[in-house]
Symmetry: C2
Subunit: 465 residues, 2 copies
Amino acid sequence: MLTYDLKKAPGLPLYESLYRHIRSDILSGALPAGQKLPSKRALAAHLEVSKITVEAAYAQLLSEGFITAREKVGYFVEAVVTHQPHAPTPVPDLPEPPPQGVDLTGGGPGKFPFSVWSRLQREVMLDYGETLLRPLPNQGLLSLRRAITDHLAAFRDMTISPENILIGAGTDFLYNLLIQLLGRDKLYATEDPGYGKIQKIYAAGGARCTPIPMDGDGPIPSALGDAQVLHISPSHHFPTGQVMPMQRRLELLSWAAQGDNWIIEDDYDSEFRFHSRPKPAMHTLDRHGRVIYMNTFSKSLAPSIRISYMVLPTALMTVFRQKLGFNSCTVPSFEQYTLERFLSRGHFEKHINRMRKYYKNQRDRLLDLLDHSPIRDHITILEQDAGLHFLLKVDTQLDDPALLSRCADAGIRIHSLSHYYHGPVPEDARHTLIVNYDRLTDDDLHQLQTILQHQTFPRGEGGPP
Amino acid sequence: MLTYDLKKAPGLPLYESLYRHIRSDILSGALPAGQKLPSKRALAAHLEVSKITVEAAYAQLLSEGFITAREKVGYFVEAVVTHQPHAPTPVPDLPEPPPQGVDLTGGGPGKFPFSVWSRLQREVMLDYGETLLRPLPNQGLLSLRRAITDHLAAFRDMTISPENILIGAGTDFLYNLLIQLLGRDKLYATEDPGYGKIQKIYAAGGARCTPIPMDGDGPIPSALGDAQVLHISPSHHFPTGQVMPMQRRLELLSWAAQGDNWIIEDDYDSEFRFHSRPKPAMHTLDRHGRVIYMNTFSKSLAPSIRISYMVLPTALMTVFRQKLGFNSCTVPSFEQYTLERFLSRGHFEKHINRMRKYYKNQRDRLLDLLDHSPIRDHITILEQDAGLHFLLKVDTQLDDPALLSRCADAGIRIHSLSHYYHGPVPEDARHTLIVNYDRLTDDDLHQLQTILQHQTFPRGEGGPP
């Protein structure tokens, strides 16, 4: 006879507790297919519950097909669902990066104006209350789009309308939306060298993607071939650090305008320059509505804040509203209201200015450390005034994998320039390390100093570290 | 001579102010291409600034290609960039829905436990502090995935691992990820009738999509044809309200297992049933790892909270990590920590119970109102115990557009069942309205009563309202 302790689930009706026990036994196979269940009266007596309880439990099992009733014979376990699916094998969670050693691979600003942000969050909660629950326009909160418009006018001399701004949960998401908007029948060109992730996103989105080789000014226009969409970061190219000169910008704009092509201008990190103003965004120079401007706050504020945006030319925004207007906005309203205040009250500007000083200081200390280290005669610093990294060319006969392996052995996590090439790596891009100092701590600087002091330089082999 | 008031921009260096003025004039065309600029000395004297200021401004303009220098002749405006791009024509912002009249088109829960949520937000801010800034695993916060695992175990009898959960900013986003994961070469089948939006999302994602006709039990297996992915909502189909019986579930599971096919089980709204427990999720019955379970908190909490999730079979999760692991998580960590507490402290359960009572009361009042209205002999209520709507069949000779137009004239916003058909509308699906009562207010009920009292029923025409 089925024996269950029905008192063990307080708050659950008895019949439901009984139903769950029997169902669980059917799914686990403890009650095999074809097995006859006890009569309602007998089970009720055995479990010391009312017959109604058993009736209700059997009725539920019947209605869900776990048992069948044969008239005047009784209830039987159904044949079809005999055992519970195997619990899936756990796949290990993504590991945290190892804390030891010096990490020069970057990872976005580590300093965030947390107290200001929290204060604004509390204010937003008090001031807006249940307004925060209203569905948002799918382009994002109008007041945030206005704040971004003002920000772009003040910092990038851009004259745009909030109507052209589309807010989304990260640039990955926006790239996917762009593929849907521009079409996956087009050929998308990306910079080579460049972030491999961008190619992966376009490919996963179903678009054909081709890397375009760069010269000292940027992607080479004559190499564009059949490409119809060009993804670039003219204000600050990663990893070379190049800033695209005006002439190349105009050439690419002319390519876009004449061939019904599109330029996606990724302007991330344009905030961080130490000596001069950033060059104007290509969007400012675009007289034909062919440039899609993109930027993100995940990079300039914190990676856990997922707010990016793009500025669509009016014709494209019209197509978006017609074809893709069914998409809901992916950023919670609470974060949008908070960022709106953060921008419009000048906190973002202050934050960027503070970070600029902080980064410049870290960079200067790092350069000074290198300049006073035993490896100083074996390295050359290549730097343009953009972004939060510089290139470190090493005078060595080691190939890049061996060089990186030496770094790793010494406790330094770092990438090489060659790592970012899709096509062949030019000779002058070899033996070159990318030094990201955006999350370099004081402790890192001390560690690095110690590491470099103890580095030996075997003759003939050339290089450090 | 160029005349600018350089004092008007406090905080800006003089050279930068001058640079901006000249650049603005070049972009607007006030300084036409080819125009010679005044010499540095002359402009400095004219503007009463130092020559160094003018030099710095000209240097910036030179470096950005706005002007060129001809040796011993002077500086000239560049020919290429002659005027600022036209500011894009503003497209009107999305209109708010009109506030007057009675809205029976639905729109998700209107009542949200705002004070509890705010309190948890404040707690999270205090307790986690800068931890909130750390990048998250791309599947979402582990503690939130654990809380969802516990929730699914308690409410849906589902035995899963947090490792199989993927959190994203809304189901639209997750559908797109699924297309990337399963492939857009597959044929995706959706329920007909059903939400048109789902078809649009798959089509925009580049997947082929086909509507599958339904009988009284759900999508007809023999109509699946070449489909390889089936998107269904077995716990509560919209708009028919159907709950899929066990036998059809097993048939579809067998289709999935035998043909290397996939089932996407959209379980939204399964929380809201008034009389019986929801049927077990198909995921529970899936012994071959072919069911992808999806649900969202945007629907059960508030549309402005963009948190949805899916449970991937282990094999698919492995593919996700290999092929799409570069995607960043789209939900901000702050919202994830807050939801984690909301779930694990039992607030979600309380909220759902409260809402269930509230909805049941609104439904009962609405049914009572209809039952005492002059139209009571002209209507039939079709209802299954699921979701937050019922069907109202009208005895009328009006066709559906005319019926809806009569409703609109009377001040009632409502959809017809026929609106949700992709293929031909069966005869018995005509003259049927979908009554969503999820955001029905007391005021709506009063308005509706007044509208129905004043409704006249012309003979021969049959129907109201």
